[in-house]
């Protein structure tokens, strides 16, 4: 096993351009897959922890930008973020445990590409843009367009997630709900992030498809104020948008019904079209 330890982004880009490397941020995802996988130890790693200027939160007039090494804890303990982007703190506070929140990064959560990632739905519901850096310069991709399929994403081997940009908007509704088998250290069975800004809804769901994804059919129902008189009325749109499965953690039927109930109960007092 080899570990390269760059000090600057430029150095890191150079190393990445030269050979295939696995970036390490907090290492919490990489470590979880570590012991069983002997071949992983033969790989070469790029330790990002020493790269200066990669862990920050920058407030511009138009956007809040998180760095490629910004952790959940950084966000949870920042009162300005909690005020303006409360879902980041809500979701961050439900990732793993306090120890994981202290090490785990938003960029790592995105790049790990798990359909169960808890950081991704809230970022996506805020229309986050992923800033990919490399020797060739920056490339920006809307997070909602970032995933191509299970663990497939628009991130090339020589690129790093350098930053994550969140446009600053007025929201009149924001909610994140994580349903897991227990209150901490639980892989999400069903998760949903909801935002409404200027009459437009974002509905982003995790653990119910091969990737975290926005739900256009549900968003359209909400945008168009279509009448909903019970959770069942949401099932058709849920099935159109998502493809839950039976697995070791839950069942497809439970996932569909629970998402419908969460949406129904949580939006009932919010959407006049919900009876």
């Amino acid at each position: 096993m080899r570990v390269l330890m760059p000090d600057t982004l430029e150095e890191a880009y150079g190393m990445l351009a030269a050979e295939p490397l696995t970036p390490v941020a907090g290492g919490t995802d990489l470590l979880a897959h570590w012991p069983g996988n002997h071949d992983a130890r033969k790989r070469a790693y790029l330790d990002l922890s020493g790269v200066s200027g990669l862990r920050f939160m920058h407030w511009g007039d138009e956007a809040l930008t998180l760095g490629g090494l910004t952790t959940y804890s950084d966000v949870i303990w920042d009162s300005r973020v909690v005020e303006e982007f409360p879902l980041l703190a809500d979701a961050g506070g439900q990732v793993g445990s306090i120890q994981i929140q202290a090490r785990g990064t938003w960029a790592g959560n995105i790049a790990n590409g798990s359909p169960a990632a808890d950081g991704v739905p809230v970022l996506m519901a805020y229309d986050a843009v992923v800033v990919l850096g490399s020797e060739e310069g920056d490339q920006e991709v809307l997070l909602a367009d970032f995933y191509l399929g299970y663990k497939k994403m628009r991130l090339r081997a020589h690129q790093l997630i350098r930053a994550i940009r969140l446009p600053r908007r007025e929201y009149d509704f924001q909610r994140f709900v994580k349903v897991g088998a227990r209150n901490a250290q639980a892989i999400t069975k069903i998760g949903v992030a909801l935002t409404r800004s200027e009459e437009r809804w974002r509905v982003v769901v995790n653990s119910m498809a091969p990737t975290v994804r926005r739900c256009p059919a549900l968003e359209a129902m909400l945008d168009e104020d279509r009448p909903v008189s019970g959770p069942e009325d949401l099932l058709t749109a849920i099935r159109e948008d998502l493809a839950p499965i039976d697995d070791i953690r839950s069942t497809a039927a439970y996932r569909e019904k629970t998402l419908a109930r969460v949406l129904y109960f949580d939006l009932k007092g919010v959407c006049p079209s919900f009876a």
């Binding site: 088998a181 227990r182 209150n183 070791i248 439970y254 019904k257 949580d266």
Partner: protein, 728 residues
């Protein structure tokens, strides 16, 4: 009193078996069956591995009998011709490199000609499924009292209910692990275990060695819960076989996935009640059928079944009882000892049945229990007359008071009306647990404890009972120092090493304090008596010891005691009648839950556990036992679910087998009542298992109160509750 090993555990200095350095030793690993049942056609070693570097052991290397010594001799140490469950051990490997040996396991293929497996213990096996006797029944026990059929026929109301409980994984923090080495002509095995002399017996049989050529030493043990009662015998045999063949020390440590997949769990159970009651709710007849899934080999299933059945009627008086139970074979990884030992399963069923009776009669479940709880002079299902001075009604009332049960019910009615998506409810259970071995078990064990004085005046306590987190070292220190009037630092607890300590029995069955503690008290008295003055205590005693050693150079001043049954007790194993246990401890538990109707997830808001335990010797340790047991039971009731494929657990990681975190349990409120038991240490009865018996039915009752559903199967996962709720 300070916990004896507390600081070293806190500072990470305690050396668990995996922490013990291995200089010139080998690492062992196990090749297991991929198939639930069949004949082994071939064991194929991949040509890509240089097998000369490995020590390889199979069934032909076993010098003694190829079975794991226990109740019956059916479980092979290593499979020879056939396999009966997935993960059954077939071949052992050892190598200098831990990584190499684990990789090599994947280069050995066990090829099995499959036979049809039996996987559902609730169904009768087909003719081609018979593998044990004529019917796959490991054990069949019937407890009879009065005339059940007549009483059921005459009863104004007969209520039926069927209940099921799932397997449970122990999740001790420290996985199974052992080291073996050869010392002259002695095989030494050291590791994480609860019962040094069980392991010793298994080794003498399996290795075909005399008792004095086998030595077993317990290493600091990171939790057991029954999981280190019988399983360590298997691992000890494996590691010893490798060490014998290698002629070098060998260490075997299971990783978490292997430990969860290949070792025992709590027996799954199916239980049916038919109860005859009069219109006031008095129990007239209890007919109970019990089936436990034993898994592929007998292991401890008959005794787990026995304890389960003795507790199956609950802590209630009823003149006509028939409890008919079987433990049956399936081609699953064998089930085994787990804290509570069958009682949590049967108590879940009887407590849910009591709630069902209350509902069908339109009665308050509290009043139904109050009416039927055993009074002084009444008897249990085996005819054991209870006259222990304990006030079982007071236990119940204390739990109701502390939990504000009635107030909560009113509060919940208001809360539920005010919330569209949340429901609260409160549930109750009353229960009991017999401590020590069942029936004549303690007489059969005939345990011995010893104390030995040292020339400097300190006292060493020698027993085979072990510390596994529950506090044995501390409580034994306390018992010895209090009986001798010495400081705790004047007491040394001997390492559980079969070359030094007598056989005081296994560390199971809530017996350590009640039974062995009493032997320590008696051994202390024996030692003092040898000094000629039975009243010697404290500094005078210390001085007398020092003087004794001055006079008797080369001698040893010691004291010993052997178990004697309490006078007047009797038990008949054939009819299953008599005094099943020296003493029962009594409990009542109230649980409050909140169910989220969006997810059907259940949150436990409050738990009160009240118990009568004879005498609390060490309040902190006792509370710890109760709180830990309650948490374990909440996990079993709500979230701990083994997912099976071909009789093997497939969610065998801590990410996918859920136990409660500190965020999932509320503060657990504990209270004790005391009615000293004349034959227990300082009046104490056993408490280690009692707390696991009560919470699961109380959780289910609380969910019932909150949602109007009738959970009869645990764990009540959100998935299961959603089906019940939507069906309701």
């Amino acid at each position: 009193m300070e916990r004896r090993e507390g600081i070293s555990k806190l500072l990470g200095r305690e050396l668990y078996i995996d922490d013990v350095p291995m200089d010139r030793g080998l690492w062992g690993a196990t090749v297991r069956s991929p198939s639930p049942r069949g004949r082994i056609r071939e064991v194929r070693f991949s040509p890509d591995v240089n097998w000369d570097e490995f020590v390889v052991v199979d069934h032909r290397d076993i010098p003694g009998e190829n079975h794991v010594w226990l109740i019956e001799s059916d479980q092979p140490v290593l499979a020879a011709d056939s396999v009966r469950h997935v993960h059954e051990p077939v071949v052992l490997l050892a190598h200098h490199s831990r990584e190499m040996v684990h990789r090599a396991v994947r280069s050995v293929e066990v090829i099995v000609d499959p036979a049809p497996p039996v996987l559902d213990f609730r169904l009768p096996p087909g003719a081609d499924g018979i593998q044990h006797g004529t019917d796959n029944v490991f054990s069949h026990i019937v407890i009879r009292k009065g005339d059940v059929d007549a009483a059921l026929a005459d009863a104004p109301v007969v209520i039926e209910g069927t209940y099921e409980t799932g397997a449970q994984e122990h999740v001790y923090l420290e996985n199974q692990g052992m080291v073996a080495w050869i010392d002259g002509d002695v095989v030494v095995v050291k590791g994480s275990l609860q019962c040094p002399y069980y392991v010793h017996a298994a080794l003498t049989h399996g290795l075909g060695r005399a008792e004095d050529r086998v030595r077993v030493i317990q290493s600091p043990t990171g939790g057991g819960f029954g999981g280190k009662e019988e399983y360590p015998s298997v691992l000890a045999l494996h590691v010893a076989l490798l060490a014998l063949k290698a002629g070098a020390p060998v260490k075997m440590i299971y990783d978490r996935p292997e430990d969860m997949a290949a070792t025992t769990k709590r027996h799954p159970a199916w239980i049916r009640h038919r109860t005859g009651v009069d219109l006031d709710g008095r129990l007239l007849a209890q007919a109970v059928e019990v089936v436990f899934d034993g898994g592929a080999y007998v292991t401890l299933s008959p005794v787990v079944l026995s304890r389960g059945l003795i507790h199956a009627g609950g802590p209630y008086a009823c003149d006509n009882v028939r409890i008919d139970g079987r433990a049956v074979l399936t081609n699953s990884v064998p089930f085994g000892a787990f804290r509570g030992f069958g009682a949590p399963q049967t108590i879940f069923a009887v407590e849910r049945q009591m709630d069902k009776i209350a509902e069908e009669l339109g009665m308050d479940p509290v009043e139904l229990r109050r009416m039927n709880l055993i009074r002084e002079g009444q008897s249990t299902a085996t005819g054991q007359i209870i006259r222990d001075g304990a006030d079982r009604l007071e236990v119940l009332d204390r739990a109701l008071d502390l939990s504000a049960y009635r107030e909560k019910q009113e509060e919940h009615a208001r809360f539920n009306a005010a919330h569209e998506d949340l429901r609260r409810g409160v549930g109750l259970s009353t229960y009991f647990h017999g401590a020590g071995f069942t029936g004549g078990g303690e007489v059969h064990l005939s345990s011995v404890a010893k104390v030995e004085a040292r020339p400097d005046g300190r006292i060493e306590v020698l027993t085979s009972n072990i510390e596994m987190g529950q506090g044995t070292l501390t409580i034994f220190t306390q018992i010895a120092s209090e009986s001798l009037g010495l400081e705790p630092d004047d007491v040394v607890i001997a390492e559980a090493d079969t070359f030094r300590v007598p056989n005081s029995g296994p560390t199971v069955a809530s017996r350590t304090v009640m039974v062995v503690g009493r032997l320590i008290e008696k051994a202390c008295a024996d030692l003092v008596a040898k000094l000629g003055d039975s009243d010697l205590r404290g500094p005078d005693l210390k001085q007398a010891i020092v003087d004794w050693y001055r006079k008797h150079s080369g001698g040893v001043l010691d004291g010993a005691a052997r178990y004697e049954p309490p006078p007047g007790t009797s038990w008949d194993e054939d009819s299953y009648r008599g005094d099943a246990y020296g003493a029962f401890a009594w409990g009542a538990c109230v649980v409050e839950v909140e169910v989220d109707l969006r997810t059907l997830g259940t949150r436990v808001l409050d738990v009160v556990a009240v118990q009568e335990v004879g005498k609390v010797l060490n309040e902190l340790l006792a509370r710890g036992q109760i709180q830990g047991g309650v948490v374990q039971a909440i996990g079993w009731a709500l979230m701990e679910e083994c997912v099976w494929s071909d009789g093997a657990m497939v969610n065998n990681q801590l990410t996918n087998y859920m136990i409660p975190t500190s965020d999932d349990v509320p503060p657990i409120r504990v209270d004790f009542l005391e009615a000293p038991y004349a034959h227990g240490t300082g009046g104490a009865k056993g408490i280690g298992e009692l707390p696991v018996d009560g919470p699961a039915p109380a959780v289910a009752a609380a969910i019932e109160a909150a949602t109007g559903t009738h959970p009869r199967v645990i764990p009540v996962t959100p998935e299961r509750l959603m089906e019940l709720y939507d069906g309701a």
